[in-house]
C-alpha cells in the first residue's frame, strides 16, 4: 500500500457538536463537518434556525452545548492564533465614530503576529511598520471601491458601504479562515459581483477557507463550492431536488 506523502488538514472540524444558548433548547446538531483550505462553503436556511449562532460558536464567541470544535488547529476553548480568523458579523462590528481607515487598520493590526507595543508605537523604528500597515489598509479599501470614503466616519456611510468596510477589514487581515454572516445583503448586483470577486480571489490565491451564512439560497448556490442547509435542527448537504424548505422560500 502506498504511503500518503501529505494530507490536507481541514481548517474547521466539528465532531458531534450541538449548539444553542441553553442546554435544554439546542438549536442545531452537527454530527460531522469539515471545511478545507481553498473551499467556499455556504450555510443557508430560514431565519431563526441557528445559522448565525453556528458561526458565533465556531468563532469561539459562544460555548457549544457539546462536542468538539477545531478551528485552525486549535480545539475550543483554545482560540486560533492571532489574525487567523476573520469574522464579519451580521451587525458588522465596526467602530461607528471612527474613520474607514481606522476600522480597516484594525484588521491589518490583527494580521500582525504580535500586537504593536503601546510605547513602541511612538518610536521611530515602528514608523516604517506603520507606513506598510497603512498602505495595506488603503489597498484593501480601494479593492472595495471605497477610496473616496477613506476618512469618513462609519456612521456617515450607507448600510452597503459599511458592509464593504467590514469586508475590507477582514481582507486586510489576511486570515486563514473568513466567516461572514450575510455580508452581501444591502448590496446591489454590481457591487455583489465586485465584493464576491475580491473575496473569492483572496480565498483561492491564499488557500484560505470561506464560510458564509446566506439566507438567499440562490445566491448561496451561486457563490459556494458546497452548500449546507440547516433545517429542523440538523445540518445537511443541499440536495438539488426542491426540498420542503426550498418550496417554502
Amino acid at each position: 500500500m502506498g504511503k500518503i506523502p501529505w494530507k490536507i488538514e481541514p481548517i474547521i472540524r466539528l465532531n458531534d457538536v450541538t449548539i444553542g444558548y441553553k442546554v435544554e433548547e439546542p438549536l442545531v446538531e452537527i454530527p460531522n463537518l469539515e471545511i478545507f483550505p481553498g473551499e467556499i462553503v455556504a450555510i443557508a436556511g430560514p431565519s431563526g434556525v441557528g445559522k448565525s449562532t453556528l458561526l458565533k460558536t465556531i468563532a469561539g464567541l459562544i460555548r457549544p452545548i457539546s462536542g468538539s470544535i477545531e478551528v485552525c488547529g486549535k480545539f475550543f476553548p483554545d482560540r486560533p492564533n492571532r489574525g487567523e480568523l476573520g469574522y464579519v458579523p451580521q451587525g458588522l462590528g465596526l467602530v461607528r465614530h471612527a474613520s474607514v481607515l481606522h476600522n480597516v487598520m484594525l484588521g491589518v493590526d490583527a494580521g500582525h503576529n504580535t500586537p504593536m507595543p503601546f510605547i513602541g508605537g511612538f518610536l521611530p523604528s515602528s514608523f516604517a511598520k506603520k507606513k506598510t500597515s497603512k498602505k495595506k489598509a488603503i489597498q484593501a479599501i480601494n479593492s472595495m471601491g471605497l477610496e473616496e470614503k477613506i476618512s469618513e466616519p462609519i456612521r456617515r456611510l450607507s448600510g452597503g458601504q459599511q458592509r464593504r468596510v467590514a469586508t475590507a477589514r477582514t481582507l486586510a487581515q489576511c486570515p486563514k479562515l473568513i466567516m461572514a454572516d450575510e455580508f452581501l445583503s444591502e448590496l446591489d448586483e454590481k457591487t455583489i459581483d465586485m465584493v464576491l470577486g475580491e473575496v473569492t480571489k483572496y480565498v483561492r490565491s491564499s488557500n484560505a477557507a470561506l464560510l458564509v451564512v446566506e439566507h438567499d439560497i440562490t445566491r448561496a448556490k451561486m457563490m459556494a463550492d458546497r452548500l449546507l442547509v440547516i433545517d429542523d435542527g440538523r445540518i445537511n448537504p443541499f440536495i438539488k431536488e426542491p426540498t420542503a424548505m426550498e418550496v417554502k422560500i
Binding site: 458565533k56 469574522y87 451587525g91 467602530v95 484594525l106
Partner: protein, 296 residues
C-alpha cells in the same frame, strides 16, 4: 420579575399619597418647636436689610498688599481677592478634571463588565466606590491635614473625587456600547489592551468627552466650597469674611460665584452639545443655549 405594570393607576396615586403623608409624619417628628420656623422669615428680612444688602463690591478692588502693578489701570480688578480666588478655583477645577480623567479612564476600563471578568471589574468598582464615598469637602479636609493649606490640597481632593465619580460615569458609558465590535475584535484575536485603545475608547469617545466637560463644571461648583476648609480658591475668602461677620462682602462673593457658575454652565452645555448629539444634526447655537426655546 417586574410586577410594577400590575399596579393600577388609582393604586399608584394612593401609594404616592401614603408616601407623602409618611414623610410629613417623619418631618413632624424631627421638629420640636414649630415656632422657630415661623420666626424664620422675619429673621431673614432683618438679616438681609442689616447685614447682607447692599453687597460690598470692594471685593473687586485691588488688595492693599501686595501692591498691584497691573497696567492699564482699569485692569487692576485682577489684583482683587474676588478675581484671584475665582481664577484659583477655575485652575483647581481644570487641573483636577484633567488629572482625574486621565486616572479614571484605566480604572473604568477595568471596571466595565463587558471587557473583564467579574473579579477584575468588581475590584475596580470597589476602588472607585471608595473614592466616591466621601464628598470632595471631606477629601479636602483630609488633604489639608496631609499637605497643608492651599490649592495643592484642593487639587488632590478634587482629583480623588473626580476619579471616583467620573470613573462610574465612564464605565457605565463603556458598558452601554454595542457588543458586536467587541465580538469582532475578540474573533480577530486583538488583545484586551488593543480592543480598549482602538475599539472601546473611539466608540465611546463622545460620551467620555461630554462627561469630562460635565465634571469640570461640577468641579468648579464644588471648588468654591472646598476653600472653606483651607483648600484654596474663592471659598477661602468667603470663610474669612464669614468669621469677621462681614456678610455684605460674603454676598458679593456669592453673586460673583453665581454669575461665573452660570457662564461656565452655558459654555459646558454648548461644548457638550458637540459630543452628546448625533453629529449630523444641526448644532445648538449660543442663542439657543442662553434663551428658552420659545424665544429662539
Amino acid at each position: 420579575m417586574n410586577y410594577l405594570h400590575r399596579i393600577s393607576r388609582p393604586s399608584w396615586l394612593g401609594i404616592c399619597i401614603l408616601i407623602f403623608l409618611f414623610s410629613i409624619i417623619v418631618f413632624n417628628g424631627m421638629i420640636n418647636d414649630w415656632g422657630r420656623a415661623s420666626q424664620g422669615l422675619g429673621n431673614l428680612i432683618t438679616f438681609f436689610n442689616e447685614s447682607l444688602w447692599p453687597p460690598d463690591w470692594s471685593v473687586l478692588e485691588p488688595q492693599v498688599y501686595p501692591v498691584c502693578t497691573v497696567y492699564p489701570n482699569f485692569m487692576d480688578f485682577t489684583c482683587s481677592t474676588a478675581w484671584i480666588g475665582m481664577v484659583e478655583t477655575i485652575k483647581i477645577a481644570f487641573v483636577s478634571t484633567v488629572f482625574g480623567t486621565i486616572l479614571s479612564l484605566p480604572l473604568s476600563l477595568l471596571a466595565a463588565r463587558n471587557l473583564n471578568p467579574s473579579w477584575v471589574s468588581y475590584s475596580s468598582r470597589f476602588l472607585l466606590a471608595g473614592f466616591r464615598s466621601l464628598p470632595s469637602l471631606i477629601w479636602a479636609i483630609f488633604f489639608v491635614i496631609l499637605v497643608g493649606f492651599g490649592p495643592l490640597a484642593g487639587v488632590l481632593a478634587m482629583t480623588v473625587y473626580t476619579v471616583g465619580y467620573l470613573g462610574k460615569l465612564q464605565y457605565e458609558a463603556i458598558e452601554g456600547m454595542a457588543k458586536i465590535p467587541l465580538d469582532a475584535s475578540e474573533a480577530m484575536g486583538l488583545t484586551k489592551f488593543e480592543t480598549a485603545l482602538k475599539v472601546v475608547i473611539p466608540e465611546s469617545a463622545n460620551d467620555l468627552i461630554s462627561q469630562a466637560i460635565f465634571m469640570f463644571e461640577y468641579n468648579f461648583r464644588h471648588g468654591t466650597v472646598i476653600g472653606i476648609v483651607g483648600a484654596g480658591g474663592i471659598g477661602y475668602y468667603i470663610n474669612l469674611y464669614l468669621k469677621f461677620l462681614q456678610y455684605d462682602k460674603v454676598i458679593a462673593y456669592l453673586i460673583i460665584i453665581f454669575v461665573v457658575v452660570l457662564i461656565i454652565d452655558f459654555i459646558s452645555i454648548k461644548a457638550r452639545s458637540y459630543f452628546t448629539e448625533e453629529i449630523d444634526l444641526p448644532r445648538s447655537t449660543w442663542k439657543s443655549v442662553f434663551l428658552p426655546s420659545f424665544l429662539n
